[in-house]
Each structure stands twice: as C-alpha cells, then as structure tokens.
C-alpha cells in the first residue's frame, strides 16, 4: 500500500517535472537537428549535426557578444553586491542623520516602474556622450534598490554583539562588512547575485536603445537583432543562438542553487 502510494506520488511528480523540462530538452535537441527534422517532437535527432551552431557563429559575432554579456552582467553583479551591501550595512547597522529618509527613498525607488525612467535615462546617456559604450550598458544598473533592501533585511538579523566584538578586535566598518557579514550572508548574497546576473543577462530593451555597434552588443541583443532581422534564416539556427544565451544562466544556477533554495525556503530561520 505504502509502495503503491509512493509510486503514484513519484509518477505525478515525474509528469509535472516533464512538462517543465521537456520543452527545454526539445529545444536543446532541436539545435542538433537538420532542418527537415526540426518539426518533429522526437527528443533524439536521427541525423545529429552541428550545422545550426556553425551557421549561427558564421553569420554574427556571437563569441564577442557572449564575452560582452559576461563582462556587463559580471560587472553589474559585482557592483550590486559590493556597493549594495555597503549601503545595506549602513542602513541596517549604523546610526546617522537622515537614515529614515534614505530608507524611505530606497523603498520609494521600488514603486517607480522601469519603463517610466527609460526615456529620461536614455536622454541622460545621450547627453553624457556614452552611447555605444560599455558604460551605457553598465552605469544605470550599478545600484539596485531591491538588492539593498534584501541585504538590509538580512543584515538586521545579525547579532549586534558580533559587530561589537569585531570593533573591540580592532576592525573598521568595511572590514566588519567583508570579513564578518559577507561570510554569514551567503544565502542572501547568492540570491541577489543570481537575480542580478539573470536580470542583466536577459536584458534586451536597454542595450537595444544605447548600443548600435555590433561589437558592443550583448548576447540577447544580438540574438534579437539576428533573429528578428532574418539573419538566422531557419528555426534551428534561432534555437541554437537561444541555447547559447540560456546555458550560462543554467550553469550559474546549478552552482548557486543550494544557497538559492536555502534562502527561498528558510529565510529568517537560523539553523
């Protein structure tokens, strides 16, 4: 009876998991199919080929775009973690004039939708003469209010006596942040890192606005231009370029998933 229930349970879960994973696996396999086969729902290509990837690589500078994306997303993620945690530490643990205002302002930023600031931000970038530079891609994302508030919330739970001990031991505030708070905040730091990285990695609209030079384009941007502009030519090539986009994020997730799930499931619970 117990075994039967178990089998039923696992069966249901397997079906549920398949509905999520099958499209992805199909896409992965379709990138290796010749054009004639792409229409089938079979998971394994009969005549596997790398042609789609070869075509894609030959038609547009995807290698360069991959590096651009990594540089941009990496810089942004690092900046959000470093500057964000510094801000969050101050907001959570230091007493200074204007702290409530800063809290309210940070919260207020969350209420403003990104679309609203898109045009003013673009005008600013144009006037600063930053169009077609990496700076245009990176600058607007160096700070992130959501990340600051998440880290602030986490930092507030760290016992005051650790800060006091560290001060007695002779540490300055920066050192306390990076040698005491960072190691203790791995769950929140990794969730902020993965969200920031994915957000930046998948961003299409902003790069489309501020970058026109092909050698500066990020991966999703190039992909969009490439596919919509008819450069791909076939669905197989389109899927291959989408695969290039998605694989780094999947790898990053796989590395951070333990922390990621921990902080999603057990936020606020000490153990």
């Amino acid at each position: 009876m117990k075994t039967l229930r178990r089998i039923a349970l696992y069966g249901a879960l397997t079906i549920a998991a398949l509905t999520f994973i099958y499209p992805f696996l199909w896409m992965a396999s379709a990138t290796f199919k010749p054009l004639a086969e792409v229409g089938t729902i079979a998971l394994f290509p009969e005549h596997a080929t790398f042609d789609n990837y070869r075509t894609m690589w030959a038609r547009a500078p995807f290698g360069r775009a991959l590096l651009n994306s990594m540089f941009v997303a990496g810089t942004i993620t690092l900046s959000v973690l470093v500057f964000g945690s510094i801000t969050a530490y101050a907001m959570a643990r230091l007493r200074f004039r204007g702290r409530p205002v800063l809290n309210a302002a940070t919260m207020g930023v969350l209420l403003i939708p990104g679309q609203l600031t898109l045009i003013p931000l673009y005008t600013l970038i144009v006037q600063l003469g930053l169009v077609d530079t990496y700076a245009a891609l990176i600058l607007p994302y160096l700070f992130n209010a959501t990340a600051i508030l998440m880290m602030r919330q986490f930092f507030m739970q760290i016992p005051q006596s650790l800060i006091d001990s560290a001060r007695m031991d002779g540490m300055g505030e920066m050192r306390i942040l990076f040698t005491i708070f960072w190691p203790l905040s791995r769950p929140v730091l990794s969730i902020v890192a993965i969200f920031t990285f994915m957000g930046s990695w998948n961003e299409v609209l902003w790069p489309l606005l501020v970058v026109r030079e092909q050698h500066l384009m990020t991966l999703p941007q190039l992909l969009t231009v490439f596919s919509l502009g008819g450069g791909a030519g076939s669905i197989g090539v389109s899927l291959a370029s989408a695969m290039v986009l998605v694989v780094p994020v999947v790898i990053a997730y796989a590395f951070l998933q333990r922390n990621f799930i921990e902080s999603m499931a057990g936020s606020g619970v000490k153990g």
Partner: protein
C-alpha cells in the same frame, strides 16, 4: 593608582537621560561589579568604557589617558559579551587570534598567547571547532580566552553568565573570579544578579535610573545600605520592609505598626528622630520564629505576630512567609520544628540588625 576614571559622565539618547553625572574610580587590579535592574544604565556605562557608545558629557580615563573620544580598538580594553559574540564562521583558534592578527602581533607571539589561554581555560581540544559545535559553557570560555589573549589593561564583562543554566553559572562564576585574581587585570563586570555581584566583586556599585546608589564592599552594602533601594536589592531573600511610626513611649524609642511593636536600641537611634512616618527594614535571617499558642495579638508588646501563609523547606534554611497586619513578610530560619500554614507565630527581631528608613534614606 586607579586605572579607570569616570568623571561627570552623562549619556543621553535623544531626550532620555540614561546615565547622569556618573563619577567612579576603578582601582588597578580590582574587580568592580556594576549591578542594577534593567534600565539602570549599567550596560551603557560599560559600553561607554569600551568605546561602543558615545559619551554625551564628561570624561573617561584609562591609565591616565583620556579615551573619551577614542574608538574601541585604541583603548586597550577587551570585552566578554552576554551572547559571547563569537564569529560563527571561524574556528575557536581563529576567534582567539583575530584581534591579535589585526593588531599585527607577531605570529609566534600569537601562537604563544593562544596556547596560554587555551591551556588556562582548557580549550586545547576545541581549538579547531566552530562555535556552533561547542556547549554554552565552552563558548563562554572561548569568549573569555579572546579577551585574555589581548592582554588588555581592562577586562569588561557584560552579563557573561546570564545565558547559562544555574549549575554552570555557579561554576563559571568561580572560574571568572579565580582567573581575575590570577591575572590581576582591572575588571569591570556588569550583572543584574546581586548574588553574582556579592560573590565576585571586590567592590560593588549599585545603580538605579542611571545614578549610583551606593559604592562599597559587598558586606558593607549588606550591613549598611544607604537607602531602601540598596537594602532591598542586596541580599536574598530580600529585606522585609514595614511602614510605621516612631513613638517615644515606655521610656525608649519604639517602632509601631499594625501587628508590629519593636523597641529600638536608643544609642543606634539618631537624637533628632523625625516623628513622621518611617520604614523598618529587617532581613529574613534577622528574625526568630516561635509557634504561638495564643490567638493573634494585634498589638504585641515586643516583636511581631503573624499568621503563616507559606513554608518553603529548603533543607538547611527554611523560608516562612507570614502576614503581620497588612504586611507580607518573610523569615529565614533554621528551626528544627517549623510552623504549619495557618499557624500563629511570634517573631522576635534582632534589634542590632534592624534598619530605619525615612523617605527612603537610611537613618
């Protein structure tokens, strides 16, 4: 030569004054205990000495140097916190040595001091463990070790035992006392537990509402408390208080209240005894209890009469709670034969040990 001075130190948080005009000298090598209830300002005083809290007014000196505006790292003090404040992601060894590494102490010297502290506190087998893998008492010892390896001018303890269970607390209390006597480092120790204060302190400072109530040796606080607060705070079980009047009948000075009639020793009574209301203070162990055969006499000729409401048999000493007039009092006795609940009792007071308070001050 005193090693720590507080001079007119005041601390305000916004409009609230937490510590007011605090003056105190801590002698070199002394273990001074700051004791008081919550909100008495004792922890704030300690944190100001540590440099973790800014001083609003006044001066703090350590070893003649004005440290009032120095950050903690420049003060040469080390502190043990209530919840220990050990870095959870570092091993015991790293916890002990971090403060020294930050001060650029030579590696061999760090190793020597860590080994010395580990030996003294029996921490050797634990050096490579993380704090989470230690018991409360072990964590407590690591926190003490971390303070010791710094070899500071002053040790600060902020309620270090309050997270331990009763047995361990008594044991660690003895260890801390012994350690301090061996190291002879000036120590300021904060606690709300007056038993801890009495057993550990060379001197005790009793605080209430951010002000010093009394400074003195434990036995002095016990024998001659300056006011009703100190009298009630020091000693377990606490002193009994009875509100009443002083009269001059029977050719002597007599304290009278409902159910209480106590002739006082004339020499120990001030000439200018105010004739208004006074409070009699008597410690539970300064009372003798006899089971009375008669009914309650509401105006006894000497001592008290009361009716027992509770008897706590503790083995050696027993606590007898009884009502005398409107007052619920407690006597601590070593009688073989104890009264039962509901019995009437005669209580004689040790007049030598009776205290009188007028408007809260002892007279």
């Amino acid at each position: 030569m005193p090693s720590v001075h507080f001079e007119h130190v005041t601390k305000r948080f916004g409009a609230t004054t937490v510590v007011e005009d605090f003056n105190l000298d801590v002698d070199e090598g002394e273990l001074l205990v700051l004791v008081g209830g919550s909100g008495s300002g004792k922890t704030t005083i300690l944190r100001m000495l540590a440099g973790l809290e800014e001083v609003t007014e006044g001066t703090i000196r350590i070893d003649q140097h004005d440290v009032t505006n120095l950050p903690p790292r420049d003060r040469d003090v080390a502190m043990v916190f209530q919840d220990y404040g050990l870095y959870p992601h570092m091993t015991v060894r790293e916890n002990l040595s971090l403060g020294l590494r930050l001060r650029k102490v030579a590696r061999t010297e760090i190793e020597r001091r860590v080994a010395w502290a580990a030996d003294m506190l029996r921490l050797e087998p634990l050096l490579d463990r993380k704090p989470k893998q230690l018991s409360g008492g072990q964590q407590q010892r690591v926190a003490m070790g971390r303070a010791m390896v710094r070899e500071p001018l002053v040790f600060l303890f902020d309620e270090p035992l309050s997270n331990l269970d009763a047995g361990l607390r008594a044991q660690m209390r003895i260890e801390i006392g012994g350690l301090q006597r061996r190291l002879k480092t000036t120590t300021v120790y904060v606690t709300h537990d007056q038993v801890e204060a009495m057993t550990l302190g060379d001197r005790i400072v009793v605080l209430a509402d951010g002000r010093i109530q009394q400074v003195g040796k434990p036995i002095d606080l016990y024998r001659t408390p300056v006011n009703r607060f100190v009298a009630g705070f020091v000693g377990t079980p606490p002193m009994n208080f009875v509100d009443g009047l002083i009269t001059g009948d029977d050719g002597g000075v007599v304290f009278k209240a409902e159910g209480v009639h106590c002739a006082l020793i004339p020499e120990r009574t001030p000439q200018t005894m105010p004739s208004g209301p006074v409070t009699l203070g008597i410690r539970p162990e300064d009372m003798e209890v006899d089971v009375a055969d008669t009914l309650i006499d509401t105006s006894p000729r000497d001592g008290l009469q009361g009716r027992v409401v509770l008897v706590e048999r503790l083995g050696g000493t027993s606590h007898i709670h009884f009502d005398a007039g409107p007052n619920r009092l407690l006597a601590a006795v070593t009688n073989e034969r104890l009264p039962e609940v509901g019995d009437a009792i005669n209580v004689r007071l040790n007049r030598e040990r009776a205290h009188l308070f007028v408007e809260d001050r002892r007279v």
